[in-house]
Symmetry: C2
Subunit: 686 residues, 2 copies
Amino acid sequence: MTRLLPALFLLIAGLARADEGMWTFNDFPSNLVNARYGFSPSQEWLTKVQLSAARIAGGCSASFVSPTGLVMTNHHCVRDCAQQLSTAQNDYIVKGFYAASAPQERQCPAMEVNKLLRITDVTNVLTKATQGKEGAAFRDAQRAEIARLEKECATAPDIRCDVVNLYQGGMYNLYQYQRFQDVRLVFAPEEAIAFFGGDPDNFEFPRYDYDVAFVRVYQDGKPAKVDPWLRWSAKGAQPGELTFVAGHPGGTSRLLTVAQLLYQRDYALPERLFQLAQLRGLLDEFQQRGPEFTRISNSLKFSVDNSYKALVGRREALVDRDFFSKKVAEEQKLRDWVKADPERQKRYGQAWDHIARATDTLRAMRIRLRLLEQGAGAGSDLFVYARLLARSADELSKPNEQRLKEFADARKPEVEQQLLSPAPVYPKLEEALVTFYLTKLREQLGPDAPVVKRVLGTQSPQALARKVVSGSRLASPQVRRQLYQGGPEAIRASKDPMLELVRTLDGEARAVRERFEEEVESVIDQNGELIARARFEAYGTSTYPDATFTLRLSFGQVKGYSEEGKTVEPITRLAGLYERATGEDPFRLPPSWLRAKPRVDLQTPFDFASSNDIIGGNSGSPIFNKDAEIVGVVFDGNRRSLGGDFGFDEASNRTVSVHSEGILEGLRKVYNARRLLEELGRGGGG
Amino acid sequence: MTRLLPALFLLIAGLARADEGMWTFNDFPSNLVNARYGFSPSQEWLTKVQLSAARIAGGCSASFVSPTGLVMTNHHCVRDCAQQLSTAQNDYIVKGFYAASAPQERQCPAMEVNKLLRITDVTNVLTKATQGKEGAAFRDAQRAEIARLEKECATAPDIRCDVVNLYQGGMYNLYQYQRFQDVRLVFAPEEAIAFFGGDPDNFEFPRYDYDVAFVRVYQDGKPAKVDPWLRWSAKGAQPGELTFVAGHPGGTSRLLTVAQLLYQRDYALPERLFQLAQLRGLLDEFQQRGPEFTRISNSLKFSVDNSYKALVGRREALVDRDFFSKKVAEEQKLRDWVKADPERQKRYGQAWDHIARATDTLRAMRIRLRLLEQGAGAGSDLFVYARLLARSADELSKPNEQRLKEFADARKPEVEQQLLSPAPVYPKLEEALVTFYLTKLREQLGPDAPVVKRVLGTQSPQALARKVVSGSRLASPQVRRQLYQGGPEAIRASKDPMLELVRTLDGEARAVRERFEEEVESVIDQNGELIARARFEAYGTSTYPDATFTLRLSFGQVKGYSEEGKTVEPITRLAGLYERATGEDPFRLPPSWLRAKPRVDLQTPFDFASSNDIIGGNSGSPIFNKDAEIVGVVFDGNRRSLGGDFGFDEASNRTVSVHSEGILEGLRKVYNARRLLEELGRGGGG
């Protein structure tokens, strides 16, 4: 599997050491696992695991846990769904949700579950298509070839295909998924227990959260039949036990060049944190206006708080001078190796400098790129709908291979699901977000920038936000459907003020995106590919690619760690949960758990830490033993895992999961969720 | 004046070049000004300017502009006073304030004006007192000697004395001031014109602000007689004219070592910005709750927005790789020079490493230091009052030279003025700030930190904030006076909940402060002193010390600059103001200026840029010509001046002032402020 060149042995030592790695299923180092843990996953085992894992579009992982489409994930992965199904009178975030019978299962307005069917290597096809091209030509050729490949692969509406760029351009794989768009909520606990400890305990360990939920995928209005699926283990995770995590880590930056890391350290991360910090302050105070303000903004607040803390940890890793020096040394080693051979130097030698220059270009355009394109709208749903409509009017008239990539034929189902989602829109929150966005636009581009003048005219950001939000009819899915089905003419004829706002921005937004794709992204892809090849030549695929929100497998063991001289045990128990409860948010237990206290076994394992290498996007991943039996559900990493974006430190980087025994104890003693227990094969008492 | 060693000429080139420098009055480079501008300030001229300049305690500069105590400064320097004198019904921030007759002048609740009388060099005294001492012993000896010197100097209640540490410990000067504590508001325009363009235009140029205000100092209930004072120039600032600024730059960091700059870049600045960004979001949303919420929080919002933008600019300078490399090269040059001579190497060679280690220590304690001591309370007035009371109970019982430095006898008047200020306290805002503070305390120290547990118990930050704010009686100046006059026993007996909160924190707060003073501050002082001596030995006092909120003189000229290839003219005119007005905040003119439009001369100069080297704290400084005549009032720097914290770039770093002719045109045509015009010698029509 690994193509090691013996002469380079010294270079390799210290690379994929330890429990590090978010490995692809088509290049899993079974021999390495065997060497460390005496178990070598077979191809059959790997296939079973791959097909039992699931992805939740938008950012989570999950697993199939019954033959009738039952899917286990985290509460925080179904949080949006639970909020969207709630009303001011009936708040499932507060009360939890349990469908005691099949008809009570409720469809999530905007959830899609994917199951990975097949991985095909298309590196050669893409390399051929872009050979000898640069800048815009490279980008166009690549985009056209990807659109073609994906369209050819997506043979039915419920098949989703993505070309995935691995190793920073070193390898392209075509991932084919089965797509489930009818997803129904089965069980979600109260948020007070799912996210017990709230933001203060987030990314910390020891931990006491019941962050688990179940949904079911349907086909043709009936529970989908799935095979294979993962069974429950007899006892759950044991200290020292070998554990695997199959899930979808969203993204890592371990292969970035030093120039790119500097950009992350000095610009990308701090500036995103400034923005998130301000949004945190805004949301905290927004919630002070009343309980309904809290309810409608809680999902956003959760995600903002969560991203904030995650990025703080990531930034801290990069400002750590020892850590950064290691990155510099690693790059230097590879560059020296390239330089040692004139032929290699000719092929790869310039790649780092080209990337450094592209990063300089990015730095110069970053503010416009963020405000006009990547972060435009600052989270407003209406803005997203308006942009999808405005752009679909332009893009869908073009040939498939010339469109912006998110409008390629193969991506149509996602566009439509997103655009036509029945999820409620909250005008007060929209107004606050659009005000925030327009204020930032003026603040960062300056009041004299032509685009700012065109957008605001003589209005204040707040007045304009109020006008476009209160005047827009796009909150209604019917209105959006009519416009979308009316096609370009209907959309262009619409005078909806949010659509008009988006149209005013769109020329410059597209222009900056185009420049980014031509002068930054394509240069980084092309030269990243060269560096990746140099790395392959030096190390083989004994390294794993950076995470890309595609299915990966990591191995490790149930294991504590030391922190500031103290030993942290790997498993927490229910007794600790009750000790930690103060009665005040976010340490307030819901009534169900308080009532159940006399019944539960306080020695039941609740959460646990393991040395698996994961990152954001892995939330909801199954964690299982060598017999592919569930021992828990991953929901977090500890604080030291946050630097995992840039590198894995086995000494203290830990995955945090809800223990399978804790899950069962809750379903039995707190929720009396018999139907669910039976489906999990745990109906009978013990 | 300068003690140049000829052999070092190459080293010196490029040091205090150009218009750079915030020079002390006892070491002003008149010869340099003469070489560049053909004018050599005499000692008499310098003395006159020194005695005509004024400082506003808390962070601004000002000047005496009439023999009867009239003081000119910025609107934003009297903003707190105007807000404190306002009520919901009568808002001087919105309507402006003008005392058409003497009895209408209104006393500012918490303003102190200082006039610098004398500077004495006490370096030798202090060096002798601390000789051979380190850590705690060094700190104690230094503290005791400073308390003694200040007490000896402060011969009357209206004399204020500060020992000032210059050149990072290379020189200690004793500054003796006359103190005016009865300060009355004479004129403040509407904020809509004083801060026209708001945050978007802040730190930008071209600019159109009427950021000027007048107060008067009183003695024994009557206008104070002052001499000397600055007259008005005939025509105001002309393009190319030599200009001086006498004011109190708050602080610069141009002499920091590379280790200290790294700490600023990676920790101090970004983390302060995260905090400020969150506070910005909180305040923006707080203001959405209604006009009264806006009124009571506007002063704080102004200062938060202003600091935020300033620190963003400062951070940008440090992440600029060229800029940082220069700093590294400068340090290396001096270190190489030290190393070249074994004797020098022995004396100075270790200093940089000692500072680097102290900076590491600071990094490890920074979060506790910020939360428990330096940033404790997050701006809550009640918290400040409670801490002043609690600490005065402990400190005032100790001998003068053993107290925390802010409680030394010589500082008592400031403590009392601050503590007994009649400024209103706004409970809603207090509650929001204390909630923010307690939330940050828990977030950053973690819910399991003993001090967090002691403070919060089982309460949420918000519940505790509400309790201590609503339960505290410290909003009343009478209550505070009673407690203060009751002495330690009365204070210790008080069960005021805000006092109890402060007491719960105080043990750990004092402990971290003590560790900081012993292990960080004293090491940096001591080794900074060594580096400063090395620098003197190499360059003489041809360099100026970093700013320390003490009186400095800078020179320059009225001068535009280029930005992104475009030429920016140095002077704006009233016509531009009216063109920029959109009718919407923050580009909405107040009614007075709209009404006056037909009367004003649109060609009148309004604001202008000059190459003087200033920084925050210089707000309100007089800017004057070589005849010591006022040509304007400094109120801002352009965006490129923000990096001035770390270094001056003559090409684009600019001071921004209101033009003296613009000031007069407003007083005449908009405000018809005859009494004021007469006092300025401009009563007669033209």
